[in-house]
Amino acid sequence: MNWAETARSAWESLIERRGRSALTMLGILIGITAVILTVGLGEGAQAKVSSAISALGSNLLTITPGSSTTGLVRGGLGSASDLTLSDAQALSSKLDAPDIAKVAPVAQSSATLTAGSNNWTAPITGTTPAYTAVRDRQVVDGTNLTNADVSQGNNVAVVGSEVAEELFGFTPPVGQTMDISGVPFNVIGELNTAGSSGASNEDDIVLIPITTEENLFGTSGPYPDSVSDIYISATSSSTISAAYQEADDLLLQLHGITTPADADFTITPQTTLLSTATSVSKALTTLLAGIAAIALLVGGIGVMNIMLVSVTERVGEIGLRKALGATPGLILRQFLLEAGVLGLVGGLAGVVLGVLGAVVLPHLISDPITISPVAVIGSVVVAAGIGLIFGVYPASRAARLSPIDALRSE
């Protein structure tokens, strides 16, 4: 009796009990669908986060005020405004920091924008022309801020696509006027569409000269020219650590700090952010997939249960087959294969439902779901494997049945 004949026999037996087989497969189906969707959700989130983070500029280093190593007296990260415009100025020096390409100090506030009858509240970013280069953004229409705008404190703004749409609809924003907290600004440029990076929407943004921002909203810290962050970009991806070192040395020196552990600022390379975010979403995926795996396990126990019932029901058939010359090995193989087919068919159906879910669900929950071929093939293999593993016990029971006990039972 070869495999094809055993498979035919297994298939016929499952068809014979189709209602029960379908219910058993449902258990596997739910498990596989859950695994595919949770892993897909996790991978989707991971891809989203990492693409958003690398969209920020891959050679980017972010300097934030406050220390990451919180001492007894020092406040937490970002609690103090210890970064100033003159820090940014110093970092721009090609002499002191040759590996730093661009420096963009940033002062953040939030304000109501008005254009005609439209209102919109958006984060206002006071910065310098270098911002677009450092954050890897492009001005797609109009012009960027200029150094003259910064030194003169001009009331000009570059807007993100979402702000433009909210305020001006489909009219091109460049050349229009809008009020920021009641002060009129000329819109001189529009940024490219960048999407959202985790919590912040990179298209809901207004760039104005940092000097104008400070005139308008006042300083955000104890010093007159305090800034909330300084973005710097390394000259290339290979000089990120050199740029990091130069910025660190320079700021320690400027701030008069001798022990690096006492630093009142924190420099975070983009890669660190990326790996942190990735590891967080990975952990979440693992957790969800673990829960889904439990569902799959329960499905497997369902297979074992139904196979045990099947063996008990078919004691007579097993005895007859043995009397006609079936070896224990062949009986084992037949029942194993039945269990395996239960798992396999349930798994295939689960993949179909999972892929369907991956297409439909993102429309409902606005999260992307990534279906990787590895996950699909893997889950089919796992489903069949689970059928086989949980089929071993019932099948070996069938194989061990004595033919006379089996024949007598009918």
Partner: protein, 272 residues
């Protein structure tokens, strides 16, 4: 107590067996069939006992049975229910093993054979016919009949189908090939089961109450097939509790309480 009585039985049976030798020779000489298996079909039980259950509740199904069946014999084993005749049949069919004693099938000590060899013997050398037919209900007649060939590894499927149809035709069911068991009468079902027993061309046919569930006309048809199998030279062992069925054989062995109490030729056996 058991020991003593079995000793007595042994002596009695030894005598009986010796007187049988002559008849066996006659049967062997008169055998005209083309030998299906090639080897000499001999069943030989030596002081076989079978005890079921452990501890306090023990059932002594067989209490020391000696029996020799030669190639081509048509033998009936008669006994009331509980006499141990079914146990005897299970041992003869290699479905069960004796508690003590030895069973030689075609000269081989069955207790020395492993599970695979036993399965092979059941598959190639023995054809079983059961009282309850034991057909698989969901598959057609020919699929039921081909089962032994499937386990024998006969390929391709068309070859098995051909042989299964041939076997069905030999029991007069050529027009019932595609019918399922529930579409057939009891007699037809039993004939399907007989076709299944014959399909691998075994030297030995073991039938356990083959007419027990049949109306008398169907029983006659069935017994006629056994007669034909005997004429083909197969060894036929028929287990029954009905004397008129037993009389169809050439030799009758009566058992009671797990012991052989009589072993003699039937009317047909002596007239031959």
């Amino acid at each position: 107590m058991t020991g003593q009585s079995s000793m007595e039985d042994d002596t009695a049976q030894m005598g009986a067996v010796e007187t049988r030798e002559d008849t066996a020779q006659l049967v062997r000489v008169s055998s005209t069939r083309g030998d299906p298996g090639g080897a000499v079909a001999t069943l030989k039980l030596a002081e076989v006992t079978k005890t079921y259950g452990m501890g306090d509740v023990q059932v002594h199904a067989l209490r020391g049975v000696d029996l020799v069946v030669d190639e081509g014999e048509y033998i009936a084993i008669m006994g009331q229910s509980g006499s141990g005749k079914s146990t005897l049949m299970h041992i003869l069919g290699c479905l069960d093993s004796p508690t003590t004693g030895t069973y030689y099938l075609e000269g081989r000590d069955v207790s020395q054979l492993d599970e695979l060899e036993l399965a092979k013997i059941r598959n190639r050398r023995i054809g079983f016919v059961f009282q309850q037919f034991h057909l698989l209900p969901r598959i057609s007649a020919w699929r039921n009949v081909e089962l032994p060939l499937v386990y024998a590894g006969v390929r391709p499927r068309s070859a098995r189908r051909e042989r299964a149809i041939e076997a069905l035709a030999s029991v007069g069911l050529a027009d019932r090939v595609e019918h399922r068991p529930n579409e057939l009468s009891g007699g037809q079902q039993q004939r399907v089961a007989i076709a299944r027993a014959l399909v691998s061309d075994p030297a030995i046919i073991l039938a356990d109450e083959p007419t027990g569930n049949l109306a008398s006309d169907q029983a006659d048809e069935t017994l006629a097939i056994f007669e034909a199998m005997h004429d083909q030279g197969r060894t036929v062992v028929l287990i029954t509790h009905e004397p008129d069925v037993g009389e169809r054989a050439r030799r009758m062995v009566r058992i009671r309480d797990g012991k052989v109490i009589a072993d003699e030729p039937t009317a047909r056996g002596t007239s031959r």
